[in-house]
């Protein structure tokens, strides 16, 4: 494996040089539980799925965001997934809509590293899941006859 000769060059930022010093010193080993969650991440792989990437959401005109409800939009394969994220009591509520509505037999699966909740989509493509733990989540849309579409992993922390 060859390395570029300018590895420690002036273009490197402070954090990266600090990370390099720490990594080379071996004084800050990865905690076991961090390694365990990294290993467990593999259990959430979804072979053949299309990843829906974040899209810009037009800001609602004339309304100043209160910071509570957040609208996230993801898109892939001609499908848009809109998610309203709200939190109460330290838990996260998701209300989602898949556009265009995929029709009968479609499901939305809300996945977190520790649990998965499955919902049948309404005829208008809507679903809701309440009381999720804060942290990383991904929504997978399953449609009969199509590969699944999964929103890229996103972190939600309660306000």
């Amino acid at each position: 494996m060859t390395r570029a000769p300018s590895s420690f060059g002036s273009s490197s930022d402070d954090e990266s040089l600090i990370a390099a010093l720490r990594l080379a010193s071996g004084h800050d080993p990865v905690p076991d539980e961090v390694t365990a969650t990294a290993r467990a991440a593999f259990g959430l792989r979804l072979p053949g799925a299309a990843t829906a990437r974040p899209l810009a959401v037009p800001a609602p005109s004339g309304i100043r965001s209160t910071g509570r409800a957040r609208l996230l939009r993801f898109g892939a394969d001609g499908l848009t997934v809109d998610l309203d994220v709200d939190s109460s009591g330290g838990l996260v509520d998701l209300a989602g809509r898949v556009c265009p509505p995929p029709g009968a037999g479609a499901r939305a699966e809300v996945r977190t590293p520790c649990l998965t909740e499955s919902r049948e989509l309404s005829p208008t493509g809507q679903f809701a899941v309440v009381g999720l733990p804060p942290g990383w989540f991904s929504v997978v849309c399953h449609r009969p006859g199509h590969p699944p579409v999964a929103t890229s992993w996103t972190r939600i922390r309660p306000e």
């Binding site: 390395r3 420690f8 990266s16 961090v34 390694t35 609208l71 890229s152 992993w153």
Partner: protein, 185 residues
């Protein structure tokens, strides 16, 4: 060692191969995130997300040579996002990401270089050749990753307000020590 066979095995669903990837790059990801001054809990959160994103993105990366820079870029971006949030900046939507952080010219990244033991030793040899307070500052910074600025400054016998500027000067000095050797190579 993570090579093409490892990646193919991961893509075929082999958990053992994935564990090899985690073992090889885990310390790199952890160091990058921790260097942003995140607490252990926040760092764990960012690291978890970085691996989840690798699971999702690996089919598009495949090249073992690109995984380290991809991990660095992703971990750094997530750490910076979380830092901005903990500093109280209101973020309404987090997942704005570049289309593909891979191959964006990260050959100049020191943390990638020290994945090889030789480069790690060279880095610390340079530190050991430095005058005070830089030598002690770096030793302490590495040995006490959870120490706050106040504590570090106290141990170094300097006012808290001097720690940041001193660290910056020392980092600049360290970089200048490392560059001439490279110019000759």
């Amino acid at each position: 060692m993570v090579d093409q066979h490892t990646i193919e095995a991961v893509l075929a669903g082999d958990q053992d191969a994935w564990d090899v990837v985690v073992k090889h790059f885990g310390p790199l990801v952890w160091s990058v995130v921790r260097a942003h001054g995140l607490s252990a809990a926040d760092a764990s959160d960012v690291v978890q997300g970085t691996w989840l994103r690798l699971v999702e993105s690996l089919p598009g990366i495949r090249d073992p040579e690109r995984i380290s820079s991809w991990l660095c870029t992703t971990a750094r971006r997530e750490a910076a996002l979380l830092l901005r949030r903990t500093r109280g900046e209101q973020l309404t939507a987090e997942p704005v990401e570049p289309a593909d952080p891979v191959g964006a010219g990260h050959s100049a990244d020191p943390v990638l270089a020290v994945l090889t033991a030789d480069e790690g030793r060279r880095l610390w040899r340079a530190v050991e050749s430095m005058d005070e307070p830089c030598r002690s500052l770096f030793r302490l910074m590495a040995a006490a990753p959870d120490a706050g600025v106040h504590q570090l400054a106290g141990r170094l016998g300097m006012p808290t307000g001097s720690y940041g500027p001193t660290r910056r000067r020392c980092l600049d000095r360290l970089r200048s020590l490392l560059v001439p050797q490279e110019a000759a190579s």
